[in-house]
Amino acid sequence: MKQEENILEVKDLRTSFFIEGEEVKAVDGVTFDVPKGQTLGIVGESGSGKSISALSILQLIGHPGKIVGGEINFKGENLLDFSEKQIRQIRGNKISMIFQEPMTSLNPTYTVGQQIREALKIHQGLGKQKGTDKAIELLELVGIPSPQKRVTQYPFELSGGMRQRVMIAMALACNPELLIADEPTTALDVTIQAQILELIKELQQEIGMSVIMITHDLGVVAETCDYVAVMYCGKVVEYADVRTLFKNPRHPYTVGLLNSLPRSDVDQEELIPIKGTVPPPHDMPEGCRFAPRCPFATDLCHNHLPELKDVGDGEQIRCWIYTDEWDGDPEVKVYEPERTSENK
């Protein structure tokens, strides 16, 4: 890791769901850092545990889920040691979150203004008038036209893109140091997505906050993130800076993801899918979680779980191929660049 200050360090985080006496490990030993002022992308397919990791940071995990281990160090303090009251001081204040579905995450029975004022009242003690002024200011900041009018409107009176802007305004109300964005643009059309991503980027530069961007869209990652953690079955399998990840991906899963992605910017002869499907959470393979789908897997992979290891340049990989123990083909080439033909 380069010598940078990390605003958040998550170490060996474990979150499980206890259903009918069985433990389902949704997040199974997740480790990542968020450098200050930068954007960390967490990517993975459905069920990889990316959203649960994010919810765990703010301890928004409800029954039957439980954080069963690990550390979440925010500016040197472990949030898991905090009481509920202390965590409330952090939530929506120092760390805030925006969700995928702007309609279901806004309260339909309160006006936009009332919802933004709530955080201001709790954390900054602003009264009604001051709160409303600040709310209007925030709506203007996130690019909502005629904010004086919008502040008195209800969520149903706004379009999807507008609602997401309101969510962002709420999240920014107390100048957070860390913003967690959980699939913030997945429900939006591309032209609106472009507006929202641009907005988050601009605000990040303005306020100097750090961002965790959770997404399944590798295009969004490439455009908005500085560092990326790729998750598979509750574990981080690769952590690298964004250029390294796209130019020289090393984990077979990351390579598989990039190979199966249909791209809008180049012509591709064919897509190379990852064979098989994600194993069900109650029936995880004993060794590497990806072994049953991995084209390079050996007995070692099927029987023993690899560690997330530093491989230099701040990159971390959870794969036997990059260890001394590797017992398969020593010349194995996981990634062959320039597979896609550029046109134009």
Binding site: E45, S46, S159, G160, G161, M162, D189, V190, T191, I192, Q193, A194, Q195, L197, E198, H216, D217, L218, G219, V220, V221, A222, E223, T224, V242, R243, F246, K247, G256, L257, L258, N259, S260, L261, P262, R263, S264, D265, D267, Q268, E270, L271, I272, P273, I274, K275, T277, V278, N343, K344
Partner: protein
């Protein structure tokens, strides 16, 4: 590619009435599809793209008469589809199948996969009864599932597997045309690639024709031969894949393509930011429907509706509905107002 016209759509309109008042009179219409004309040739894949509310799914449903179109003509293989009675329409659907977006909602949860597949064959009477068991096994294998899984219920399958069942159901009656309505949108990329490859394989083997409705332009670029871009119920641009992606002419198509995030951190694209949202299809803007968001709009765009047309420098079959195609291309017509900003990303 053979040039036999398989599906001809002429001036298709689909209005959904809005009822209101004491007497439940129609007070207005949602003009979901408003005067759409295009042709699909046998063996090709035509994609319809656009943002939510542009009418792409409605077009697909109207062709199969899942919603009865308000006006227009649909001609399939020489037959006027809209003139058929219910019984003949049902027969017609043997050749025109659809795969839906949500693989869970579109399968009957109380039927096993076998029952679902046999039901389709039964209705269309395509395979002799005694051969149906074999046909089911064959279909399961074709879409990459185990024949013994045929006796399971939909909830026992994963999302990708369910979508394969949807495909198997569509294939079970040997159709000529399959309408894929966001058929891969709900799937994770690794699974999506499996299903896309499967669809391509079947097309080659069975000479299928696809009308592919999607919003993901990566998927569209991969699977299509030709592309139709829709905005607020109208076609704004049509052409083959290369023309649309390499040489888009309509300002909306340009903005749409520039908005897609590219999975390459080194690629610098010039992004056109459209301001505001898509207007309501209840009272769509006059003239060119894109004029409220278009950076190049003028008085003429507010008043006159542009027709699809081409310019001599455009490839054959490539058309766009804009008054200023040539002038924008040559740089003669500059952005008229600051409704969008262009910057290097």
């Amino acid at each position: 590619m053979s040039q036999k016209e398989l599906l001809k759509i002429n001036n298709l309109k689909q209005y959904f009435p809005i009822k209101g008042g004491v007497f439940g009179r129609t007070v207005n219409n949602v003009k979901a599809v408003d005067d759409v004309t295009f042709t699909i040739y046998e063996g090709e894949t035509v994609s319809v793209v656009g943002e939510s509310g542009c009418g792409k799914s409605t077009t697909g449903r109207a062709i199969l008469r899942l919603d009865e179109p308000t006006a227009g003509e649909v001609e399939f293989d020489g037959t006027n589809v809209l003139g058929l009675n219910k019984k003949d329409m049902r027969k017609m659907r043997k050749d025109m199948q659809i795969i839906f977006q949500d693989p869970y909602a579109s399968l009957n949860p109380r039927q096993t996969v076998r029952q679902t597949l046999v039901e389709a064959m039964d209705i269309q009477n395509v395979v002799p009864k005694k051969d149906r068991a074999n046909r089911v096994s064959e279909l399961m294998e074709t879409v990459g599932l185990q024949p013994h899984q045929a006796d399971r219920f939909p909830h026992e399958f994963s999302g990708g597997q369910r979508q394969r069942i949807g495909i198997a159901r569509a294939l079970s009656v040997d159709p000529k045309l399959i309408i894929c309505d966001e058929a891969v949108s709900a799937l994770d990329v690794s699974i999506q690639a499996q299903v896309l490859n499967l669809l391509k394989k079947f097309q080659d083997e069975m000479n299928l024709t696809y009308l592919f409705i999607a919003h993901d332009l990566g998927v569209v670029r991969h699977i299509s031969d030709r592309i139709i871009v829709m905005y607020l119920g109208k076609i704004v641009e049509i052409g083959d894949k290369k023309s649309i992606f390499n040489n888009p002419q309509h300002p909306y198509t340009k903005a749409l393509l520039s908005a897609i995030p590219v999975p390459d951190p080194d690629k610098k694209t010039e992004r056109i930011f459209l301001q505001g949202d898509v207007p309501s299809p209840i009272d769509p803007p006059s003239g060119c429907r894109f004029h409220t968001r278009c950076p190049f709009a003028t008085e003429k765009c507010v008043e006159e509706t542009p027709e699809l047309r081409d310019e001599d420098y455009m490839d054959g079959g490539h058309q766009a509905a804009c008054h200023y195609i040539r002038e924008i291309e040559s740089g003669e017509h500059k952005p008229t107002r600051d409704t969008s900003k262009v910057r290097q990303v």
